[in-house]
Amino acid sequence: MAGWIIAAALAGAALGAGASDRLAPLPPYGTAYTPTTVDERGLWQQADEAERDLRDSPAVVRDPALNAYLTKVLCRSVGEDRCRGVRIYVVRAPVFNASMTPNGMMVVYTGALLRLRDEAELAALLGHEFGHFEMRHTLASFRRGRTIGDIIAWTSVLSPYSTLPASLIQLHFSYNRAQEAEADLMGLRYLAAAGYRPLAASRIWERLMAEQDATALGRKRHVTHRYSAGFFADHPTELARATYLREAAGADGERGDDSRDAFLTAMRPWRASFLADQIKLNDFGGSEYLLGELAGGQWTPDLLLTRGELYRERGNPRDLVSAAQFYQQAIDAGCTDPIAWRGLGLSLLRGQQEAAGRAALKTYLERAPQASDRAAMAMLIGEGGVQ
């Protein structure tokens, strides 16, 4: 019965496909590459429409220097001839992610930029996404998903109690995980060929696991990192990725360049705003871990300020004491952002240190006379507002 079902389904799928299935011989990153098959043309048009909308979206960070830097790293990683087929869009979203559409639109979230440590790690991420583009993964997945859907449709009509659909759905997701692993390894090859440190690729996933642990701990949840992926997972687990990337990096994985200074210079103007977005996630454990990671023993004013905000947001009495200390340390270390005095003042006021708190809030209003919360702060000082 099952064999007959599959034969019928494949016949149906073949009838449905119709037009020519041959792909254009040129690589998709070539100059003015034009897709030729019905499926690829359709997917490209959909992606083009999505790109028109993203291009104009207020969520995109359009800073020329930041974008030029990302393009430079991609070009060094995958090669000058290949990278020209890609447009990179930096999207303001405080989570670790990046994506690629079949037409060469690459999206990198600011949360990923905040979590990467050096240029080699950035190159690994960009190379992974480029791998999806080069291997036409979306197209392959679309076609396989369609064939699997066709077989499931026939099966559910012909043999409603068959377990074949469940196996096929599992197959579909394991195909997608295989694509991710393939893109990971392509990214690693680009990384090594460009002279970056190959171990950078696995480090990303090791730190991400540690951050997930910290998040779970902060939320009093239990977390276990598994090697095998779940039924519906479309990516391999972080543990699996870290492991195979470390193995593939080989014995001399530490050799090569990580261009840490260039990366930090490019990110310096952005880190404060990326951090401000991060602590709005209401993820105390994860944010605290991330701040510690970023500091690496050297607490800079922007990190101290963010840590103060994080503790003040949680707001237990002991957190307010810690927050006031962090704000004071930030100010002592040369922080000039007025919100440090606001945070200090509010923390002190709630910690029963009213005189010092009012003084700090006064400094805040002197430094930021146009602040949108001026009236509220003035009321707290006792200088007006509704009593």
């Binding site: 449905g16 104009d56 979206s57 992610n97 998903g145 369609r146 859907g149 499931i152 759905i169």
Partner: protein, 255 residues
């Protein structure tokens, strides 16, 4: 990162099928709204058009050629229909830069609004408590829409959306087989569209026409003309008889 669910979700949901749409209403008007012919200027926003095939399993297969044909045919049919709507209709010129972002946001907002009207007003059994009275067709996208670049001087904005999934041969075979042998209903093809009119002074939705089972093959000029006439059925201020003004030669905006 990336896609994947659609095809399988459709296939899984194929456990079938097609809730009867019979009880659905198709048109709504803001209470008390009238539009006299020859009194207003209407801006036609760039239509949203997607045309493709429906695979045997039910997933959407985008087709670039069909979408291009539909855009051209519907553009021409809309231009012809513009002269017959009783008021002056001009095509929106898409702004660039910041204005384009705003235009995109309003297009998305209109789509969300129209979807809400279809779900919570046009299905009488599913009405929100505030939409149960006869005169409660009150929906708005906000008066800020007046600041949208390219609509200054106009009174109304007309939004048009169509989506077509033509059933593939495999899907039709499955449909016939499922009905004949297994006695299960499987739908083939999705043809939905809506058109709505927004008052640019208040942002209120004054007219919406939505149909989840439209006619007319948008890939052909004749079919597109039929589709446009269905989309604009019940358009306010439309003279009953022949056109009052000759059709102005207009082109749909290329983005």
């Amino acid at each position: 990162m990336r896609r994947g669910w659609g095809a399988l979700a459709c296939a899984a949901a194929l456990t079938l099928v097609a809730a009867p749409l019979a009880a659905q209403e198709k048109t709504g008007n803001k209470p008390g709204f009238t539009l006299a012919p020859g009194t207003a200027t209407i801006v036609l926003m760039r239509p949203e058009i997607a045309v493709g095939a429906q695979s045997t399993g039910g997933s959407y297969e985008p087709n670039a050629d069909w979408t291009d044909q539909a855009r051209e045919n519907l553009g021409r049919a809309l231009a012809e229909a513009q002269g017959k709507l009783g008021n002056r209709v001009v095509t929106h010129v898409e702004p660039v830069g910041q204005g384009a972002a705003t235009a995109h946001e309003y297009r998305a907002l209109f789509t969300a609004l129209a979807d809400s009207v279809i779900t919570y007003q046009f299905f009488p059994g599913n009405r929100l408590p505030t939409k149960k009275r006869g005169d409660s067709f009150l929906w708005s996208i906000g008066s800020e829409v007046a600041k949208l670049p390219g609509v200054q001087g106009a009174d109304y904005a007309l939004f048009v959306t169509t989506e077509d999934h033509y059933g593939s041969t495999g899907r039709k075979l499955l449909q016939v087989f499922a009905a004949g042998v297994a006695g299960i209903g499987v739908s083939a093809g999705v043809h939905k569209g809506y058109a709505g009119l927004i008052d640019l002074k208040t942002g209120d939705l004054v007219w919406l026409n939505a149909d989840l089972a439209m006619g007319g093959d948008v890939r052909t000029p004749e079919g597109a003309a039929k589709r446009v006439s269905q989309l604009l059925e019940g358009f306010p201020g439309k003279p009953v008889e022949a056109p009052v003004a000759p059709a102005a030669p207009t082109k749909t905006a290329a983005r």
